[in-house]
């Protein structure tokens, strides 16, 4: 946005950035405090006189040691990875096909089906978790990570399809028709021409699907009760909080390590997340 310069550039720098400070503190403090707690000695953690904002007695790895060697945490991480990879992969292939069909092909009912996908995308998982849990149980998949691999696509497919439809529509039909004249079939044109052109959209869909899978909570909480089958989010939130005793150091170690993979992916692909969100098509 073009603006008229007022005053010195230093003054403008301060004015423009000052207002953001409260927002940045609000956004970052919980994460900072989580990590800080994870490295803090218990003696300092439960000392009402100690200043809570830094480490007075230095760093300890006790909480992490407990987490990795005395709990099933590594198993939970592995479960999260497996579930997220399988659910994202399956949803990706199915959604590419569906989105191409809905965005590009002309057949009876295509508009209605497009709207139906959008409506299902707007159905929150909390509406159907009880009967879906019964379906999972009847399939003999209760207490098994496989149940999450097959149920996560119920929200990933509508979401990815909707996102990809938008990207596929931006590809000019002529490019595709040229490829078909040159001897590609429709599927050939999709794979050799449309997909490479929409690569940023595909990356976006994969990133969001992986994030949504990793962060999912209610299905993982209600479909699985066996400790070894839990995912990282549920394991940390449900298994480390036992009875009335909260071992905050360990819980925060689990919460920060459990968030770490997704935060790393996020830092690496930041621009895709911003672009995907700005497309206005993501749950919030």
């Amino acid at each position: 946005m073009a603006k008229v310069r007022k005053g010195s550039s230093l003054r403008r720098f301060i004015v423009d950035h000052f207002g953001l400070i409260p927002f940045l503190v609000f956004a970052l403090f919980p994460a900072y405090f989580m990590i800080l707690t994870a490295f803090k000695h218990n003696s300092e953690l439960y000392d009402l006189e100690a200043i809570p904002f830094w480490l007075r007695e230095g760093v300890t790895l006790d909480h992490f040691r407990f987490l990795f060697f005395k709990t099933q945490f590594l198993r939970w991480l592995l479960n999260s990875v497996m579930v997220a990879v399988v659910a994202t992969g399956a949803s990706f292939v199915i959604s590419v096909m569906a989105a191409y069909s809905l965005a590009r092909l002309r057949f009876r009912g295509v508009n209605f089906l497009g709207i139906a996908i959008f409506v299902i995308y707007l159905v929150p998982p909390t509406l159907l978790f009880l009967p879906l849990g019964r379906v999972v149980y009847n399939l003999g998949l209760a207490d098994n990570v496989v149940s999450l691999m097959i149920t996560y696509p119920t929200f990933l497919i509508p979401f990815s399809t909707w996102l990809l439809m938008g990207y596929f529509r931006t590809v000019p039909r002529e490019i595709e028709e040229c490829a078909m004249v040159d001897g590609c079939g429709r599927m050939g044109a999709l794979i050799r021409v449309v997909l490479p052109v929409t690569l940023p959209g595909l990356i976006c869909a994969v990133l969001f699907a992986f994030t949504l899978s990793w962060n999912e909570f209610i299905y993982a909480l209600t479909f699985i009760s066996q400790t070894t089958q839990k995912t990282a989010t549920v394991g940390v939130a449900a298994e480390l909080v036992r009875g009335d005793v909260f071992h905050w150091g360990e819980i925060m170690a689990g919460a920060s390590t459990g968030s770490l993979p997704i935060v790393l992916i996020y830092v690496f692909f930041l621009d895709y997340y911003v672009a995907g969100l700005a497309a206005g098509s993501v749950k919030g």
Binding site: L48, I94, I115, P124, T126, T211, V267, V274, L277
Partner: protein
């Protein structure tokens, strides 16, 4: 041609030609748009029919029966009794009130501060990428885990928030406060709303920022030529131009705030005294603590009419894009 008329070599060649021809014809057939269109949709359709439409039907049938986990066979049809008994139930009525308080407050906070943040971000910032990255962080972190961080910050004894407040309170010479953030009815609701706002704010800010950047600069130049003050520019250019985006974002957020489960489950489990229960957490409690599947399903389905109204408005607004 009968097979016996030709030598084995010839008939093999013939079969190969036929196979090629039929494969090609099949390929051509499948390439017709109306065939290929349905074929490509089939996996998505089957998946969603089996795991969305079918469970939805089950939910409808559950909520009309007295089904209990463990003895499904004995369930019998009881009509709308589940809904009627819920409407007479104090906890359910409290949950309805909570849900509206929660949704209205959290969405309002997110919209107001999200817009403010978007306006602040829409400047020539140094470290623009870094700042956006930081702002978006709460939205990326797993809700259940970041809510645990907040639960620790709200601790009844070791709360960092209380500690900080007390530095100021004792400075004025008053006795230190003891605040049980998650243990008192109204305070617990406020605390939960703050966490939900923390999670949802980035979605508003980044989406509205995109909306702001789509406003043509000429409009502001024209307004400036007419001598408009910054306030007038905001109310007569920014806000009207942003309205479509704002409406979609608010509706989206209303749907997912109303149906929230994670924040409340982790922070309070619906307590104290059911003062923070939402539809989803109450449904979960009925189904897994009292094993009352029919009533649990009924609680979930109470969300449905309101969600449908919201979805209807989203569809109307998004019509142009569809």
């Amino acid at each position: 041609m009968a097979p016996g008329d030709s030598s084995p070599v010839q008939s093999e060649a013939l079969a190969a030609t036929l196979r090629v021809r039929y494969t090609r014809r099949l390929a051509d057939y499948l390439q017709q748009e109306h065939i290929l269109g349905y074929l490509l949709l089939l996996p998505a359709f089957l998946w969603l029919a089996a795991l969305v439409a079918y469970p939805f039907g089950m939910a409808l049938s559950y909520c009309l029966t007295d089904i209990v986990v463990g003895r499904q066979q004995a369930a019998k049809f009881i009509g709308l009794d589940n809904f009627i008994s819920l409407l007479k139930n104090e906890i359910f009525i409290q949950t309805v009130k909570n849900s509206f308080t929660f949704t209205l407050s959290a969405v309002t906070l997110k919209a107001v501060f999200g817009l403010l943040l978007a306006l602040l971000l829409n400047k020539d910032l140094t470290f623009k990428r870094l700042i956006r990255g930081c702002v978006l962080l709460p939205w990326v972190m797993p809700v259940a885990l970041s809510a645990l961080g907040w639960k620790w910050m709200y601790d009844s004894l070791y709360s960092v928030i209380t500690w900080t407040l007390n530095r100021f309170v004792t400075l004025v010479g008053m006795p230190p406060l003891e605040i049980n953030w998650l243990g008192q009815a109204n305070l617990a609701m406020a605390s939960v709303i703050v966490v939900n706002t923390w999670i949802g704010l980035p979605f508003f800010a980044i989406t509205l920022l995109a909306g702001l950047q789509a406003i043509p600069g000429e409009l502001y130049e024209a307004a400036e030529m007419d001598g408009a003050t910054p306030w007038r520019k905001f109310f007569h250019v920014t806000l009207p131009m942003l309205r479509p985006v704002l409406a979609v974002v608010i509706l989206f957020s209303t749907i997912f705030t109303f149906a929230d489960f994670n924040t409340v489950y982790v922070l309070t489990q619906g307590g104290p005294m059911n003062y923070t229960h939402l539809f989803a957490t109450l449904a979960n409690m009925l189904a897994f603590q009292t094993l009352d599947l029919g009533r649990g399903a009924a609680v979930s389905l109470f969300m449905f009419p309101l969600l449908m109204v919201l979805v209807f408005f989203v569809l109307r607004l998004a019509r142009r894009e569809l």
